[in-house]
Symmetry: C2
Subunit: 339 residues, 2 copies
């Protein structure tokens, strides 16, 4: 089943989207919003599935689906936790500045709490006041959870995964070093994120979902040019249940929590840093990684960060080349504060 | 006006509480929940004020107010940002371990994003699996915001402050060093917090609120013994509007955001580390600070962290000694995961 939220007030209006992303049916009779559906998932799921079946068979009234009319599936969420599961990415960044990767990084996940009170829509502009922030994308796979108890077991963690989405975890590279030096995590350096137009139940991924990882390439583009196509299941040091268990060590997670696995990053086939797509590699899910590889190879980065007017597109296709989640596709635009 | 949320579902039921905290009137006809009221504050405020006036004059049907029946005013919130505005506290901790305080700490606020998807009630137990985490309270003053635009001016920040509350920002001291070493902020080391039973509009503080700081002592007790009574307006390096402006540098904040100023901490009258209340000082708002002062004076801490069965009480009285927010009053209890 595929779910989305039409722009409507602060929380959107819940719709069921057809598998091919061409049509939708209203679902607000089951739950007005996706958060409301997640709050009572066991009751909502069969009724939403009924709508999805009616939509696929053409029995139900439906309308053309337009991602531009969508808010984020959860336009605001009570929690957004982002892990850094692709330790390859972290190792590269450290290699570029000549730092060691502590041994614990391979056993103890990095995870931060991000902004979830203001989430931009999948086609909304990335509004920022200054290019000098070092504006970057981060293409990631995320899951949406039901309630998870404190100290969750792996089985509870697997069961808690209700939906899967993509995210552009917008990052401001030039603000990050000073914030991380303060050790309190990202505050100004991780502004509002954008999630895919559609959130899907794990069964929509078929064999590409094993309960813990998504075995498909994650596609990123800048201004229409391919940036990355690494496979989300490869080099994923910590799978989703492991990240969920990490997050619940000292607390419960409530329904609607979004949990990400961090920038997807694959090693090159020869074990070294990934190559660009132009050079026959799988590319990168963020410009910072490309710049890091450039630094390792040539002593300094040559790829700039994003500028006003640049477009970012993030998408994932199934084995038949059909988009699963719809595309995050948006432009970086200069922000001017209201008076 | 004083607002609270009776325990009811995930978001509580909104009530208006009398100034003396003895009675309440239902407010769910105005807004079912406090979040709903904050989502449309300009419309809700006059109608809630009408209920408050009716309650004070005895015209309205009312019932006895019992904080034990309360959820947190916001039982779940879309954002909980906590600054560290009392740099004295940070300086002491650093002094105890022989580290310098970077000059920027006096000009660039420390702030992290905390858990807000699961907030415990003001009388609910602090459930944790292990005393060895180093369980500690942090008594703080927090504000609840309306919508704030990205790049907010000081005037916009002042206007955004809709409500004031207290918090026990429960902290797990023995988990903090390893998490801060990872630089991604607090994740496992800051579990669910508890806020005061009642959230009040700033006018309830009278002259003790100047639009930026609360000029009253914050009272903390462990097992009935006074721990601290520092004045929240004193040694507050960053006031609330400054913290709000810091948080909005690269993003908007949405209505219902909770923003804290960190553990309240006052220097001693002689300019040195604060003394205990027993020694004629103002004491501390967390055990970590007491242990830090013990370390500075005697080479090592003598006060233990909280144990199962210990009770924490946090409250603030007005000039006449009457409780403004009601008391956070709860016990540390061993958590056993569900099967």
């Amino acid at each position: 089943m595929k779910l989305a939220s039409l722009k409507n007030g602060r929380d959107g209006r819940l719709i069921v989207v057809s598998r091919d992303l061409s049509r939708f049916a209203d679902a607000s009779a089951v739950a007005p919003t996706l958060q409301a559906a997640l709050d009572d998932w066991d009751s909502a799921l069969p009724r939403l599935t009924e709508i999805a079946d009616g939509l696929e068979s053409g029995r139900l009234a439906n309308q053309p689906f337009d991602p531009a009319k969508c808010a984020s599936p959860l336009p605001r969420a009570y929690q957004w936790l982002d892990g850094s599961a692709y330790v390859n990415h972290v190792a590269l960044v450290r290699q570029a500045r000549g730092a060691e990767v502590p041994e614990t990084f391979w056993t103890d996940p990095l995870m931060y709490q991000g902004i979830s009170d203001v989430i931009i829509g999948p086609r909304d502009p990335i509004l920022l006041a200054d290019e000098a922030y070092g504006i970057d994308l981060e293409a990631e796979v995320v899951v949406v959870l039901g309630d998870v108890p404190m100290g969750a077991t792996r089985e509870q963690a697997v069961k808690a995964i209700k939906l899967i989405m993509l995210v552009n975890d917008v990052s401001l590279r030039n603000l990050i070093p000073a914030e991380l030096a303060k050790t309190f995590g990202f505050l100004q350096s991780k502004p509002s994120s954008a999630f895919s137009p559609v959130a899907v139940t794990p069964d929509e991924l078929g064999k590409a979902w094993d309960g813990a990882k998504v075995d498909l390439p994650l596609l990123s583009f800048i201004n229409g040019q391919p940036l990355g196509k690494p496979v989300a299941s490869v080099d994923m040091t910590f799978d989703f249940p492991t990240l969920i268990m990490h997050a619940t060590k000292t607390r419960a997670l409530s329904a609607g929590t979004i949990l990400g696995a961090g920038t997807v990053s694959n090693r090159d086939a020869n074990g070294g840093p990934g190559k660009t797509i132009a050079d026959g590699g799988l590319g990168y899910s963020c410009l910072a990684e490309q710049r890091t590889v450039e630094t390792i190879l040539h002593g300094k980065p040559s790829t700039p960060f994003l500028k006003f007017g640049d477009r970012v597109r993030i998408e994932m296709n199934d084995k038949d080349g059909k988009s699963i989640f719809g595309a995050i596709d948006h432009e970086v635009v200069r922000y001017t504060p209201p008076k």
